[in-house]
């Protein structure tokens, strides 16, 4: 039961409200997860502090070598953003797969991250982009790598009763990069993924210069397949190499058996398949762009 629904008019105001209610207040953006969690008794806060009317948090912009996405930006806005589609297409692809159009209109990328659900399309893409989150507290602001923020299923180091994520930022992808976003799900819309793989590949000629592979939700948090990434560097871009990388990535997957979303055995095997496919597709795109 909520006792109050408040609109913050600035970041400072939001933080002040959080402080004033001493743990009874929580930030709300799109609310697509939070409303249900609250109805199901999974969110103890009774005061909602709505951040969607704070000026300045709705921007998608390139500044000081980074792309910045404000805390109010929705999945739909990211999926449609020319800047994101040009400089971080992997994120646009991921955001376009979330739920249905209505959910994408309301749900925000930052909210999705703070909620720390492993089956998060946007967050997986942010892992591959090495994104950082701007965390505002009454003491000041800091940047935290996304991998530090995720701690487990639904567990995030950001204290939503005290702190606020105001933006996410990452370096734009260089022109020669190829991207691929692979998604396996029980149906084609309105569903959380069984598995997603986000890949960004950089090549010089036929040789892989750098590879980034993020995978979710086959562990408590999305993760980077670092062994596979390291294995790829300096290798020729070919099917056998991609398959080896797939195997290395699969070795790090720890999916649970799910009656609804598939067995651990199947999902682990699919990590290998989708990583291989993502690498092949990304390599092709490198060639096209190259």
């Amino acid at each position: 039961m909520w006792e109050e629904y408040l609109f913050a008019n600035s970041v400072e105001h939001a933080l002040e409200l959080l402080a004033r209610y001493e743990g009874r207040a929580q930030l709300i953006a799109g609310g697509t997860d939070l409303v249900l969690q609250s109805q199901r008794g999974q969110c103890p806060a009774t005061v909602m502090v709505d951040i969607t009317r704070i000026p300045g948090l709705n921007r998608i912009e390139e500044r000081d070598g980074f792309i910045l996405i404000g805390a109010q930006v929705t999945h739909a806005q990211i999926a449609a953003s020319p800047l994101i589609r040009d400089k971080a297409p992997i994120l646009a692809m991921a955001c376009s797969q979330v739920g249905g159009p209505q959910t994408r209109n309301a749900g925000t990328l930052v909210g999705n991250v703070v909620n720390a659900q492993p089956a998060a399309d946007g967050a997986t893409a942010l892992f591959v982009l090495d994104a950082e989150l701007e965390v505002a507290t009454q003491e000041g602001r800091r940047w935290e790598p996304i991998s530090h923020v995720y701690r487990g299923v639904g567990v995030c180091t950001i204290n939503a009763c005290r702190e606020m994520v105001t933006a996410v930022r990452f370096k734009p992808l260089v022109n020669a990069c190829g991207c691929s976003y692979q998604r396996l799900a029980r149906r084609k819309a309105l569903t959380l993924p069984t598995l997603v793989v986000a890949v960004v590949l950089e090549m010089t000629g036929d040789t892989i210069k750098a590879a980034r592979i993020a995978i979710g939700p086959v562990a408590p948090t999305p993760y980077r397949a670092t062994d596979a990434e390291a294995h790829l560097v300096g290798k020729k871009a070919e099917e056998s190499v991609f398959a080896e990388a797939g195997q290395l990535a699969a070795a790090k997957a720890k999916p649970r058996d799910s009656l609804i979303r598939g067995s651990s055995e199947y999902r682990t095997a699919m990590v290998g398949v989708l990583v291989r496919r993502a690498l092949a597709e990304a390599a092709q795109e490198c060639h096209r762009r190259g």
Binding site: R187, K188, A189, L192
Partner: protein, 738 residues
């Protein structure tokens, strides 16, 4: 002739639906209403030791907590009244849909809060979760008054199967399991119970058979039927799921106890977890054929999970057994069909009523035989499909325009098959969209009864009231019959039939709203029966009214209103009979509809994902009354079949539902449907149907999953042990992982 039949006619209810003004049960409110919420069983099998309502009663705003002590006759059920309305202390809960109490409060939030405070002490009992365990000697009993958990067994014996298999050159065998399926109608259970101005216990709710609800409610409340009333407003889908009562009797009970209006609205989770499902079936088949492709014998064992209570599990089994061999000629047949109690969800009617599950098995057998005989699957089927006068496994001759072969011919030709004499040649399927994908095409044929079967007296009554102009012509006509429009469009179809029979435009026909106090019993919106059975009743009433009008005009009585009632009985044209208890021979059904569907799929060999690229659906529902509604029924049936084949499965773990919401139970979205659906109307008329119409509601769902499963086999060479063919299921089959 008014050209009302077979021509484009807008649905009568559609303008109100697109405006959002049409009222569904949750849209009604009454002065002074209270709200009620159900306390559900927390265990699938347990004895209720103690019910403590004190904490709940102490919640401000709680008015009363209704328990089993408040129920005059504490049992109900369609056909067999074996379900407790509310489970009392010392009694058993048998599944998680059983109810302990009903909390009545000033508002819904309070009712919800209070129901969580009703404390129930249970003594858990072993939970029966599968039919094989439940069938074993010494298994715990779901119902103590029965000798075992087998609710019903049907044997069918025709000819001598051993002889038949001896004549066969090829014999194939197989096993398949089908899942529990949720109806997933979009409108969750809701309604109002109140005492009307004449003192009747009245319910406003969605229902499929208002007069049977009336009968059950009157029995429960120990009242004469004329002291009970049910009003059915717009119904947000049903598909069989509202043939049993889930909320109607509870609303009636609340009104009876409280003597004031009580509203109840269930959320989606309540709707999914506490209502009945389509039966899962386990099939084991053996089929033989001669080298020339002639079928010789079929041996079938099928078992359905009845869940915790009987519901219509016996009639569903009756149907499943009679359709188990499919629309094919078998000189020898041996069927053993069982339905078995467990502590799983109650299983009940759902689009197809026992005819939906077998095609997945029998159509696989047809493909296996065709493959073994190196015959084209179209050619093989055409050799064996039933025609007029052919004898089924229950020994009856087919009648009434048997269009199954024609549906196969038309679907196959549309899908690209070429015919050379008796030979049929499969089309080229084109290139798959990726090297790791393969294409396949699959065929399935199916048929289904129209109307109630096995000696059940199928009848429907309609009244037609004509208002005349001075010159005796018809100014308007009102049709009264309690045939519920659950979305299928029966109201419009009946108006068209009346318009045609009366020779007036459809715009002059009004169909009365359904109220058991005013509209006669039309039977249920099920068994694809209203167009045929109630259509005949409306036709009969129209003809009777026209005759009366003739007399009035002849005698110049000056009457301006004519009304006539007509009771149509299916057995007046075609009597049906129950199974012979030993041989199973009988005249099972009144009429039939037929269909063939062909699916073109692409299977990802690495992930197991299946995409249905295109479907062809040819259905013989006799004369098509309304072409746009015909397409809607076919497309909707295919939708449910695509879900059945690929995505839908209601999962329970130890009797506890795990797929509780739309985010966990996956009905196909628009993106999951084949990009193209080619619908072919094959109009083989049934001379006993109104203007030659049969029925259509169910047949389009029957072949879809089977066609998809056969197409997956065509693409990959593997047979699945069960549906739905989720990507993991297909992947397991492809990788020999069982």
């Amino acid at each position: 002739m008014s050209d009302a039949i077979g021509t484009p006619q807008a649905r009568l209810d559609i303008a109100a639906k697109v405006k959002g003004t049409r009222k569904y049960p949750q849209d009604f409110n009454m002065e002074g209403q209270l709200w009620a919420a159900v306390v559900w069983a927390a265990h699938p099998h347990a004895i209720v030791r103690r019910i403590d309502t004190s904490a709940a009663e102490a919640v401000p705003g709680v008015v009363r907590i209704i328990t089993s002590k408040d129920v005059p006759v504490n049992s109900y059920g369609i056909g067999i009244p074996d379900q407790p309305v509310l489970v009392g202390e010392g009694e058993k809960v048998r599944w998680v849909g059983d109810r302990i109490a009903i909390v009545v409060a000033q508002d819904l939030r309070t009712a919800h809060r209070a129901r969580d405070l009703v404390r129930v002490d249970y003594e858990p009992l072993p939970v029966l979760t599968d039919v094989f365990t439940a069938m074993k000697d010494g298994a715990p009993l779901v119902h103590e008054n029965r000798p075992n958990n087998i609710l019903h067994h049907i044997p069918i014996r025709k000819g001598n199967v051993e002889e038949g298999f001896a004549q066969a050159d090829v014999i194939v065998e197989g096993e398949v399991a089908t899942p529990f399926v949720e109806h997933a109608y979009m409108q969750p259970e809701a309604g109002i119970g109140y005492i009307d101005e004449e003192g009747r216990v009245t319910v406003i709710a969605a229902a499929q058979w208002p007069h049977d609800d009336l009968h059950q409610i009157a029995r429960m409340l120990n009242l004469p039927e004329d002291q009970v009333r049910e009003i059915v407003p717009a119904v947000g889908g049903a598909f069989g799921g509202r043939e049993d009562m889930y909320i109607q009797h509870l609303l009636a009970l609340c009104a009876f106890v409280m003597r004031r209006p009580i509203k109840m609205v269930w959320d989606r989770e309540e709707s999914i977890t506490h209502t009945g499902k389509r039966h899962p079936f386990y099939f084991a088949y053996k089929v033989g054929a001669k080298r020339d492709g002639t079928l010789t014998a079929v041996k079938i064992r099928l078992i359905s999970d009845a869940g915790a209570y009987a519901s219509t599990s016996i009639p569903v089994l009756n149907n499943a057994a009679s359709f188990a061999a499919g629309p094919y000629k078998y000189p020898h047949a041996h069927v053993d069909a069982y339905t078995v109690f467990t502590n799983n969800a109650v299983t009940m009617a759902m689009r197809g009523f026992g005819a939906t599950q077998p095609p997945v098995m029998y159509e696989r057998m047809m493909d296996q035989l065709a493959e073994a005989l190196q015959m084209d699957p179209v050619e093989f089927r055409l050799k064996n499909l039933l025609g007029d006068g052919d004898i089924t496994i229950t020994g009856n001759a087919m009648w009434g325009g048997v269009g199954i072969k024609e549906t196969l011919r038309q679907a196959a030709i549309a899908a690209g098959w070429r015919q050379q004499g008796d030979r049929w040649i499969k089309p080229d399927l084109g290139q798959p969209s990726a090297p790791h994908k393969k294409r396949g095409i699959g065929i399935a044929c199916a048929y289904k009864n129209v109307g109630y079967s096995f000696g059940f007296d199928d009848k429907s009554e309609a009244e037609v009231i004509l208002r005349l102009r001075d010159d005796g012509s018809i100014a308007s006509a009102t049709v009264k019959t309690a045939a519920v429009d659950v979305g299928q469009g029966v109201t419009t179809a009946l108006a068209q039939i009346a318009a045609e029979a009366l020779g007036v435009p459809v715009s002059r026909v009004r169909v009365a709203l359904i109220d058991t106090a005013d509209t006669p019993n039309a039977g249920s919106s099920s068994a694809s029966r209203h167009t045929y059975i109630t259509g005949n009743a409306v036709y009969g009433a129209c003809k009777a009214a026209l005759e009366k009008r003739e007399r009035i005009l002849l005698e110049e009585t000056g009457e301006m209103t004519v009304s006539a009632k007509y009771l149509y009985r299916g057995r007046s044209r075609r009597p049906t009979t129950a199974y012979d208890p030993v041989t199973g021979q009988c005249n099972p059904h009144i009429s039939y509809s037929y269909g063939t569907e062909i699916a073109l799929v692409e299977v990802d060999l690495e992930t197991g994902e299946t995409e249905v690229l295109k479907m062809w659906a040819a259905h013989d529902a006799g004369k098509v009354v309304n072409p746009a509604m015909y397409f809607g029924q076919v497309a909707g049936g295919v939708h449910m079949g695509v879900g059945y084949g690929l995505t839908e499965e209601f999962i329970m773990e130890n009797g506890v539902p795990r797929t509780r919401r739309f985010s966990e139970y996956f009905i196909p979205t628009v993106l999951d449907m084949p990009r193209e659906l080619v619908s072919l109307a094959v109009e083989v008329e049934d001379p006993t149907g109104p203007f030659g119409a049969k029925g259509l509601g169910e047949t389009p769902t029957l072949p879809t999953a089977a066609a998809i499963a056969n197409a997956i086999h065509d693409a990959t060479g593997v047979w699945l042990k069960r549906i739905p063919a989720t990507s993991e299921m297909v992947w397991r089959a492809l990788h020999g992982k069982g």
